[in-house]
Every structure is written in C-alpha cells, then in structure tokens.
Amino acid sequence: MNSNSPFVLAMRRFRRHKLAMASGVLLLAMIGTVVCAPLFEMLLGVDANQVDLFNQKAPPSAEHPLGTDELGRDVLLRSMYGGRVSLFTGLVAALAAGTIGTIIGLLAGYFGGRLDAILMRTTDSVIALPLLPLLIVLAAIDLSKLGLPRDLIESSMISFYRIIIIVALVGWTTVARLVRGATLSLKEREFVMAAEGVGASHFHIMFRHIFPNLISPIIVAVTLSVGNVILLESVLSFLGLGIQPPVPSWGNMLTNAQELVWDAPMLAVYPGLLIFITVIAVNFLGDGLQDAFDPKAES
C-alpha cells in the first residue's frame, strides 16, 4: 500500500492548495527562465553587460523588450541574470542557515542539560538583536583586516560568499528552535530507546533515527526562510553592501533607482516587482507545504 504513505497523502493535500500549486509552477518557470538566460541573450543578439552610452534609458523596442538602463544595458537580460544571482543566493543561504539550525537544534534537544541551556540562551539572544543594523556593519567590514588572503578578497565571488555567511550567521534561529522542540519529544519515543538498546552511537541516533522524522518541518521552515533571505539580499544589495556590480542582482539593479524615479520610473519598477512576485510565491508555497505536512494545523 505504498500509495497511502504519509508523503503521498501530504502531496495530495498540497495539490488541493491551489495558490501554493500555482506559486510552485510560477517559481519553476522563473528558475527555468533565469537558467536559460544565455539562450535568450543569443536569441536577442544583445550582450547583457554591453554598456551603450548612446542608448541610455531607452524605451522598450524590438531589440530591448524592456528598454535599457542608465548605462544603456538591456533591462530584460539583466533582470534574468540578476534573477540567477538573487534566486541562487536565496536558496544557498537558506540551506546553509537551515543546516546550522538543524545541527544546533539536534544537539540541544538530544543532549539537553547544560549544553541545551547554553545553546538556547544563545538562540534567544540572537533573536533579540537588531539584525538589520548589525548586518549592515557585517557587510561593511574590511575583509583585509581579518587577514584573509588577497586573491580571495579581490575575487568576484566574494560579495556572494559574504552574503551567504552573513545570512547563515543570523538566520539559523528559527530552525534551531523548531528542531530542538521536535527532538525533545522524539527522543522519548520507543524507536529511539530501541536504537539505544542495541548500542547505537549518539551520532547514529541523531542523524539516522531522529533527523528523518524532522525533514518535513525543516523543509517548511527553510522554504519560508528563502523568501526572507531574498528580501535581505535585495536590501543589502540595494544599499550597495551586497552583490557588487557589474554582476547584477535584483537588489543592486535598484541601487540607482532613487535618482531614476524622476525620468525613468519603470527602471525602478521591474526588479522590485520580480522580488515581490518571487517572495510572495515562495511564501504561498511554504504556507501550502505547512498545511500539507501538518493536517492538524488549521490555517
């Protein structure tokens, strides 16, 4: 009777959630589009990073379907490449934060006692911090003062790594609390005692017996945090502290938008609209998954 496994039941409930289904399809289409960005670049015969100072802030045309930006670059193509960066950063950083949160939550819940107290007080304290100003400081620090190798600091990937580390440093708390709570109740269950009885190691019990039972709440929490991470990345990049140009991201495409609102307002509209649509779709998807995995919760 494989057809009635909890996962299949959850998927059946999920499919009834029309908004979440539509959001999932939309996100897949969006990922497909940004992955195929080089293809569109070939089709249009335009280079996404080609600066054309004779063609600044041009209105939409056959060559530039969404017009050009303040440096004459194609807005459509840059939005696609920006989407690659923003979506990829969101996914990777949310996964990194989720991994840290899972490990901390498992350790705290499983071992309990003093370790639990220390880890959970740390979690409370991180939650109680004003994150945005601290993130700005973290994003502004001079990496050469940390003694990092020069070629790493000057590589084009550094702003990407930096964002992921910053988000992972502060974003793990929700998952940690969730995992700890679930671990506390799971470790009292018979199958864990049975595993202890046959002499399984702590590591084995945590990752082979407890962790698989936590996967669905973790998936929900990580999905919901992808939206927040995309918002965070866009804010930092907007302020000039995230992904550094000329690499486009939806956030840094808006950096100059405040001056542009007067003569080319549409340039300020597109990237933000993409962020908005993506984040709302991710949140609907997470909400639908939450309902699907937890039939008791009435939302």
């Binding site: 007080r121 409370d124 304290s125 939650i127 109680a128 911090l129 004003p130 994150l131 945005l132 100003p133 601290l134 700005i136 400081v137 973290l138 502004a140 620090i141 001079d142 003062k145 940390l146 939206g227 918002l231 866009s234 804010v235 907007f238 302020l239 808006l254 938008a257 405040q258 609102v261 007067w262 307002p265 300020a268 509209v269 990237p271 933000g272 609209l273 962020i275 908005f276 984040v279 709302i280 991710v282 949140n283 609907f284 909400d287 009435e298 939302s299």
Partner: protein, 320 residues
C-alpha cells in the same frame, strides 16, 4: 515572578555587555581608522606622525585594552565626538531619537488599528471570501521589499501626482499639516509592511481562542456572533498579540533604517546607516548599542506583558 524578571533582566544586561564588545570589535574592522582619515585630510603628514598619533590616541593598544578604555570613558558619561556632525554623540542622538519616535509611533498605531480588526474579521469567518482577501493582503505585506514599496509610493505620490514631498522633514516652524505631509509616505510604508504580519498573528491567535470551551458556553447561552467574537474572543486573543507587538516595537527602531534612509527622515535608522557608511566610529558604536538596548528592552517587555496579562502563566518553574 519577581525572580523570573530578575533573571531575564540580568540576562539582557549580559547580552548587552557581550554585544558592546562584539560591536566595538566589528567597528574596528570597518575600512580605515581615524588616523587614516586625518592622513587623507592632511597630505603633509608623515608615517612617523601617523604612528605618533596612533600612540597618542591609544590606537596601537590591543583590542581588549582599547575596549576597556572606551567602556570606562563611556560609563563615566564621555561618549565621544561625532565626526560626521561635529557635535558630541549624545547631542546628535537625541534629536534623531525624537524623530524616530514620532514616525514609528504613528506607523505603529496605524498598523495596530488596521491589523487587529482585519485579523479578527478573518478569524470570525474562516475560509470565507473575506478571509481569503485579508490573507492575500497580509501575504503581500509580508513579501513586499520595503525599499521598493517606498520607491513606488514616491513614484505615485511625489513624481506622478506631485501631492507629497519625496523625502525630508518639514522645516522648523512649519505647521502641523506640513509636518504630516512629510511624514505621510514614510509612515504609510512602515504601516503597510507591518499590517500583514500583525493581522496574521491576530487571526491565528483568534482562531485558537474561538475553539475554547468558554466560547462554546457563550454561544450556548445565546450570545450573538458579534458579541462572542469581539467581546469574549478578542480580549483573550490579544494576549499573545500584545506580546508580539511589544517584541516588534523594539525592532521597529532599527527596522525603520531603510524607510528612514530612503525618505531622508533624520531618525535613528538613518543615523546608524550614515554613521556606518561615513566612518563615524563613535556615533556608529553608540547608536548601534542603543538600538541593541532598545530591542532587548522590547523583548523583556514582551515577557513581562505575557506574564502580566495571562494569570494562568507561571514562568520560571518555581511553582512547587
């Protein structure tokens, strides 16, 4: 209860103390130091001069010693001088604080006034068209990038319609109406962003309450739906909501950083941003610490509210 508060208070102070060191260390990692700034201001300065100045200001000491010197000076009331504004730190902090309080207080009140009825309405008729509509609106509020919302409001109301200023604060001596004109767009941005999450908290708390036995009793005694929801339900549903609001108020101080920066509203958020970006180390340090303190206080307040509003809750585990 008293013991619980004492422990939580001490814990907050400990976190504040740790954070003061972390922030001090982070500020030290920002690009450049005050002597670099002096060098760029005076090209005739030699390397030997710079080294002498570093020693004079104690910048060549190890981090812990520099921190200790700063801390003892700060605790005795000397917060230093703001490079950016050319004034003592405290004198730049206080007006910014006032501006933030005015803006955030207004936005907070607006958001609460809108969100609580919305959340209650949605919970009173779950799965109705009203519920779905409110839910959609709440999700939009949670998912919209606040800086983009601010830009869109500027485009519509300042660029296209020309009704409102795109940023700044009313000149001194202006009337109340003029002040409101400058405050409307930033306050609206903050309100729209908060209404989404507040109404969702209210809805889920209300749903929980409406399942309780005393609600069934009230219904059985023939109380109308309106009376049950708004009188019996809302008061109890407010307990967790008030807690979250207290928590959020602390965050508002720093969370308004983006809105204040975009609208050039001279509050705490913009001050922190300008200080960090402008290498104003003294100001950045104190402003960040202040924001941390307020947020921690908001958390403490949330705990107190929770225990105070709901007599069923006994915290601290000292009941036996």
């Amino acid at each position: 209860m008293r013991r619980f508060l004492l422990i939580r208070g001490l814990q907050s102070l400990l976190v504040l103390a740790i954070m003061s060191f972390v922030i001090y260390a982070l500020i030290g990692l920002m690009p450049g130091d005050p002597i670099d700034l002096m060098i760029s201001a005076d090209p005739r300065m030699t390397a030997a001069d710079a080294a002498r100045l570093r020693a004079l200001y104690g910048l060549d000491l190890p981090l812990t010693e520099r921190y200790w010197n700063w801390l003892t000076a700060a605790l005795s009331g000397d917060l230093g001088y703001s490079r950016l504004f050319g004034k003592p730190v405290l004198q730049t902090l206080l007006p910014a604080l006032k501006n933030s309080l005015v803006l955030l207080g207004t936005a907070f009140l607006l958001a609460v006034t809108i969100a609580i009825p919305l959340g209650t309405l949605a919970a009173a008729r779950p799965r109705s068209a009203v519920d779905y509509g409110i839910n959609l609106f709440a999700f939009a509020g949670i998912s919209i990038p606040s800086f983009w919302l601010a830009l869109m409001l500027i485009i519509v109301f300042a660029v296209l319609l020309g009704w409102l200023p795109a940023g700044g604060i009313a000149p001194p001596g202006a009337g109340l109406l003029e002040h409101l004109r400058y405050m409307l767009l930033p306050a609206l941005t903050l309100t729209i962003v908060s209404v989404g999450s507040y109404s969702r908290y209210t809805r889920s708390s209300m749903m929980e309450v409406l399942r309780q036995d005393y609600i069934r009793t009230a219904r059985a005694k023939g109380a109308s739906q309106g009376r049950v929801v708004w009188k019996h339900g809302l008061r109890n549903a407010m307990i967790p909501v008030v807690t979250i609001l207290a928590l959020d108020f602390g965050f508002l101080f720093s969370g308004a950083l983006i809105t204040e920066t975009i609208f050039s509203w001279p509050g705490m958020g913009k001050l922190i941003f300008d200080a960090v970006m402008g290498n104003d180390f003294n100001l950045a340090l104190v402003a960040l610490l202040f924001a941390t303190g307020v947020t921690l206080a908001g958390n403490l307040l949330a705990d107190i509210c929770y225990a105070w509003l709901d007599p069923r809750i006994v915290i601290g585990g000292d009941t036996s």
